[in-house]
Symmetry: none
Amino acid sequence: MADDQARRHHGNRHGRSERARRAVLNAADDLLVEHGFAGLTMEKIAVRAGVAKQTIYRWWPSKVDVLLDALGDDLAEELTPPDHGDLRRDLREHLAAVAEFLTTAHAGAVLRALLGQAQHDPELAARLRAGHLLDQRARDRLPFERAVARGELAAGTDLDDAVERLIGPVHYRVLVTGDPVPRSFTDALVDRVTVQDG
Amino acid sequence: MADDQARRHHGNRHGRSERARRAVLNAADDLLVEHGFAGLTMEKIAVRAGVAKQTIYRWWPSKVDVLLDALGDDLAEELTPPDHGDLRRDLREHLAAVAEFLTTAHAGAVLRALLGQAQHDPELAARLRAGHLLDQRARDRLPFERAVARGELAAGTDLDDAVERLIGPVHYRVLVTGDPVPRSFTDALVDRVTVQDG
Amino acid sequence: MADDQARRHHGNRHGRSERARRAVLNAADDLLVEHGFAGLTMEKIAVRAGVAKQTIYRWWPSKVDVLLDALGDDLAEELTPPDHGDLRRDLREHLAAVAEFLTTAHAGAVLRALLGQAQHDPELAARLRAGHLLDQRARDRLPFERAVARGELAAGTDLDDAVERLIGPVHYRVLVTGDPVPRSFTDALVDRVTVQDG
Amino acid sequence: MADDQARRHHGNRHGRSERARRAVLNAADDLLVEHGFAGLTMEKIAVRAGVAKQTIYRWWPSKVDVLLDALGDDLAEELTPPDHGDLRRDLREHLAAVAEFLTTAHAGAVLRALLGQAQHDPELAARLRAGHLLDQRARDRLPFERAVARGELAAGTDLDDAVERLIGPVHYRVLVTGDPVPRSFTDALVDRVTVQDG
DNA sequence: GCATAACCGAGACGGTACGTCAGGTCTTCTG
DNA sequence: CAGAAGACCTGACGTACCGTCTCGGTTATGC
């Protein structure tokens, strides 16, 4: 088995150690949740992961790269909207999933940390958008696009605008006010947007 | 004049040096814009301000405290909505001012940096909210409250909800997507909210 | 009474406060014994003496000046050799007194600290010699000079040489080896010197 | 050659950099002579040696430890008495070497500084004695012991006493009066001691 | 089936910034 | 006008991480 093979191998001439990679990403994840972004140092990741510092630097240029890697495909996996053939229902479920993701410790903590760091790191901001946020935006549009295809929504509707009105207040609560984002809040948002556009 | 007296004194038993205070806040402001949040170190602030490190630590426990102080009353001064007796006009001007503030280098950079840092510093998040964001939320509500008082808006309207739908997408663009926030965008947001509620 | 007046006056137009002077010298003495030379800081002297730092700097340029002042006339008072009209007896008593002074906590600690500091502070070394050590050397010679005057000792004897052979080993023990300096040791020294020269 | 290998390596798992060690000891030596003991700071040693401060602290807990190391085996190398089979000649040469060592800038400055510091640092005093002074005392005794073995000196002679009468006045001059210690002075001392005991 | 090349752990290295402490100077008010 | 109080600038302290480097050891090819 691949996992078993990976666990044993230590040094070889073709390719890196999957064991070390996993250990680093897990350690980074854990340390972020435990000690926050400032308490996340390459030094501590190395110790926690039982890995040499050089091994981390060999594969990731900085700690934000580790986090970008740790974020991985979580967004795609957890934030792809469902398709029930009903715009309002799709949006309700999707927006609730977005809120859940952002406010839940493990999954959202990494993204929030990266978004926070991106505020004073334009290069990270660019990579974060290119690597994750644009894709997510495309996924957020899907329910609307399908509604247009079904004729449920007028063809000329500004879908990005609709997405922003939907997703904006959720991010505002999470990133700025810190208020909880209950289902009632997301449902009401969906109602506003669909009523107005319907 | 008090300011004149303050500027001359250097160190004495009756209070701190206003000159040093100003120099630190300005230096912090400048360094943040020039080198970003990471390039903003106590060491460099001290050098740039021509001030001893100890003097900074005497009055501010950390660099985020310096920034909180530097943010000062900028929000209140620049983001108090106008009162023309017309909800839509008040909101249009106010929302444009908010967008301008957040995206403009000097003024908004400090707030964006603090919001970024607050993502991985709950204690800062709490202070930022208590010290500035709650007050700003109250100011954001003002146009709506006046509209209710004028009878322009129904008495039962959920004002906080309206504010969030207005302000949320603007913050989303600034903090997440990084897209510009043109006047057309903010005006359209105001139209959505007022039409719907009117 | 002078002391009474001194105790009360705090700030005045007629000269310095004797109370402050005493407090500083005593504090310096105590701190030296308690915490050693490194633990003797102007800051701590000021706190212990209940005196402003500036008051210390007004009257003593540095902490070694405070110690030089604290040393005061102790040497002259305690290390003036007796005159019994008998060289050996005078020397025995005197040398024992020297050993006692150097090894006893309060009195000798200040001198040892200053001698130690003088090893890497030539300016202090010069002042220490000019202010105290030359006078002490003159006092150390007294028994020999009186013996010459009495005819007990030949006129051509090199008195400084004799003093050094007497006093040198005592200082060597105190400053270098740290061995105790018992009466038997000093008496034997006196015997060597007087027998040889007698 | 081991030294050659050591010189090239920079930092690795098998021990420290000999290059850094040498640089630190030399820098400490130079700075002590140039600026005195007070002017000898870890900070300046690091800069002068072109070495990170942490590297110094990794191997030496304090600046006196650096000096103790810098003193190294200088004493043993330079202050081992010769053996001509003639007590007086051995002592004359040895005592002159001691005087030379103590008064010469480079070699003696370190020892004088440490002796000075030891006056107000009992822990250093103990280490200095255990590490260097006891061994030196043993070397100082050698000429006498050989003289006893040869029958040149009576078996019951108190050798330590003789050493102290010889070495004491030299240290006294160096550490207390600061007078020069010419060959005539040391020769006369040897004569006194050997005549008396012969 | 043995050399060898890529990766691994360990950790010392030159650095930057941290937050603290003391030094010595200054200004103000009080007695 | 001396003394208290204490803020100021300076510079060293000892520590934590940074990112780079060298080293010896492990293993999976590939000659």
